[in-house]
Amino acid sequence: MIRAEGLSKRYAGADRFSVQLVDITVKPKEIFGLLGPNGAGKTTLISMLCTQLTPTSGWFEIAGERPSRSLRDLQQHIGMVPQEYSLYPSLTARENLLFFGSMNGVSGAVLRDRITSELESLGLTPFADKRIQTFSGGMKRRVNLIAGILHRPNVLFLDEPTVGVDVQSKQVILEKIRSLNAAGTTLVYTSHHLNEAEDLCSTIAIMDQGRMVCVGKPKQLIEKAKVANLEALFLLKTGKALRDYA
């Protein structure tokens, strides 16, 4: 579903690459976990795959479409759930969803029905016509997720979708992610919650300093590295030094 080769990104004025020579393959219906410390290059990699950033070098394709050939066709296949809430605070949940759904090419009764159905499935129906600025963090996360899936994308990118939410919202969001995957959506997911990733992902990749340091099935990687769990593997591959300051 996703193929990338030699994907690199160096921002203007930066003295090093944020993402360097990354090769990845994500199979259809896979939940691909992208892990790494802060500043590893996860968000930059996702931004390139979501067509928000142009790679400095390398190439990628999603569902057989390359951005250089058919950007709009490729964008029809992808959905994006950013780490930030990315919603208009003064608009209601329904108004936000109507707008983002329209921008992704869905309109009319189809869009309205999908919004009603998704709000219902994530427990937001009573709040559909309330402004986002009155919502809790967990409620915003739920709306943020719905805004990325209204056009039924083949590939959904989730950048830390459960960060900063309570247990209830976290469970609802994870259940939704599983149900989307069960319905055939390929997921690329980043998180700092390693237990959550171990439990959720069929494949994980650990990034550090812009490079892929390991890719594989979580259990196989843990066994191969002879460590107790994913967290131990993560520390083994990335060390304990501070990485926030890029």
Binding site: Y11, A12, S47, C50, T51, Q52, L53, T54, L71, R72, D73, Q75, Q76, I78, M80, P82, E84, Y85, S86, L87, Y88, P89, S90, L91, E95, L98, F99, F100, S102, M103, N104, G105, S107, R131, A147, G148, F157
Partner: protein
């Protein structure tokens, strides 16, 4: 197309929810145009329509001083008060109690009469009509008399010149009248005839005609409403770049813009949605200002805005000016990274464009370099187009150059915004 409509609907919803922003967009321009027009109204009236407080110190107490006083009273331009001491008058003017003081010197009437009589006698003697006397030559060497004008230090040069011209004219008339009178007396000496040898009616008169005129039939006087409504409407229209650019920067900071970058929608569509709503805002602003000029101005003592039957042309000019302003706002919103960059820069830039464009000071009084620079300001193009319609009753073909520049500016700035956005994605 539905994406464009959806983008426009979202912009309208965002605006509707921002009551403070809406108030700034619609109410502030109205307050601005009323305030500025009230302030500037007097500068559009001729000096004879003003009532300037003036202090007269009459040390002469003769017929000349009386004639000057009568002349000032007749002009109705001044509210006259009298003071006996020159020093007190100077102090009152310096303190700002009076805009000016006029000091008529002692024995002015007597000495002017003597001088005129002497000059007339000299003239008549040169024709052999009268014997020359020593007193004539003595008087010709005497010093001239001085009428002093004290001005409040805050008065501007234009006001001083205008008042000085008025008083000069009055004195010249009094002096001429006296000369005619002296000739009359000498030529008709000993006769009882009441007929005057010289007519006091001026032979040359002038009439002011404004080429083109305004819409008001029979009234060709340019007034503060005809000048201020288009000028400040344009200023308000261009001020749209502040909320528009801030709106765009907010979207970047909220992350909504990042999300849209992953969606199958072009940047041009997103900008188009904004342009559709903000152009409507510009037109509503303009309509409100025109309505204020038509219906509110007369009730607060200002001249009524005359539009005639040219509503469509005026709104087309407002549309073009609005597009130019929106193009600038879209470009600024694309370039700016923070609200702190967008808002102060936008506000200051509009003020600079307004100053350059001739909103505050007419372009023709600017130095040559600034006049050349003013041709680069889109507000100058807009103002020219508005004045063509409001004041010169221009036809479409006369408006085309300015309208073309405004539309071209919109296309250029929006095009640069789209190209810059593409370039940013590659950085």
């Amino acid at each position: 197309m539905h994406k464009l409509w959806a983008a426009a609907r979202k912009e309208a919803q965002l605006l509707r929810r921002d009551l403070g922003g809406l108030a700034i967009l619609f109410v502030m321009p109205l307050v601005l145009v009323i305030t500025i027009t009230l302030i500037q109204d007097s500068s559009f009236k001729s000096i004879s329509q003003l009532e300037i407080p003036i202090l007269i110190v009459d040390l002469d107490k003769g017929p000349i001083a009386q004639q000057v006083l009568d002349g000032l009273n007749t002009s109705e331009a001044f509210v006259i008060s009298e003071e006996t001491s020159e020093e007190v008058a100077a102090t009152l003017v310096r303190q700002g109690d009076y805009k000016m003081a006029l000091v008529i010197p002692e024995a002015l009437s007597e000495e002017l009469e003597e001088k005129v009589t002497a000059q007339v006698a000299t003239t008549l003697a040169s024709f052999g009509l009268e014997e020359p006397t020593d007193s004539i030559n003595d008087f010709q060497d005497s010093a001239s008399k001085e009428i002093k004008l004290y001005f409040d230090p805050v008065t501007q040069q234009a006001f001083k010149s205008s008042v000085k011209n008025g008083i000069d004219k009055l004195i010249a008339q009094v002096e001429s009248k006296m000369i005619y009178q002296a000739f009359d007396n000498e030529l008709n000496e000993g006769e009882t005839s009441q007929e005057q040898s010289f007519s006091e009616t001026p032979f040359i008169t002038y009439r002011e005609i404004t080429a083109g005129g305004t819409f008001a039939a029979g009234d060709h006087t340019l007034n503060s409403a005809q000048h201020n409504v288009p000028a400040w409407a344009l200023f308000a229209i261009f001020f749209i770049i502040v909320p528009l650019s801030v709106n765009m920067v907010k979207e970047k900071n909220q992350g909504t813009f990042d999300r849209l970058q992953a969606a199958p929608v072009s940047y041009a569509t997103l900008l188009g949605g904004k342009a559709m709503v903000y152009i409507l805002v510009c037109l509503i602003q303009f309509l409100l200002m025109v309505l204020i000029g038509r219906f509110v101005f007369p009730s607060i003592g200002l001249p009524q805005l005359e539009i005639g039957d040219r509503w469509f042309v005026l709104f087309f000019v407002a549309l073009c000016a609005g597009l130019a302003a929106i193009g600038l706002g879209l470009l600024l919103g694309t370039l700016a990274k923070t609200q702190e960059q967008a808002a102060p820069f936008g506000a200051t830039f509009v003020v600079i464009l307004a100053a350059l464009g001739g909103v505050w000071v007419p372009v023709f009084v600017m130095p040559p370099f600034m006049q050349a620079l003013s041709k680069l300001s889109p507000m100058n193009w807009g103002l020219n187009a508005f004045y063509e319609v409001f004041l010169r009753q221009a036809e479409w073909q006369q408006l085309l150059p300015d309208l073309g520049l405004l539309i071209g500016f919109f296309l250029l700035t929006t095009g640069i915004a789209i190209l810059y956005h593409r370039k940013q994605q590659r950085i």
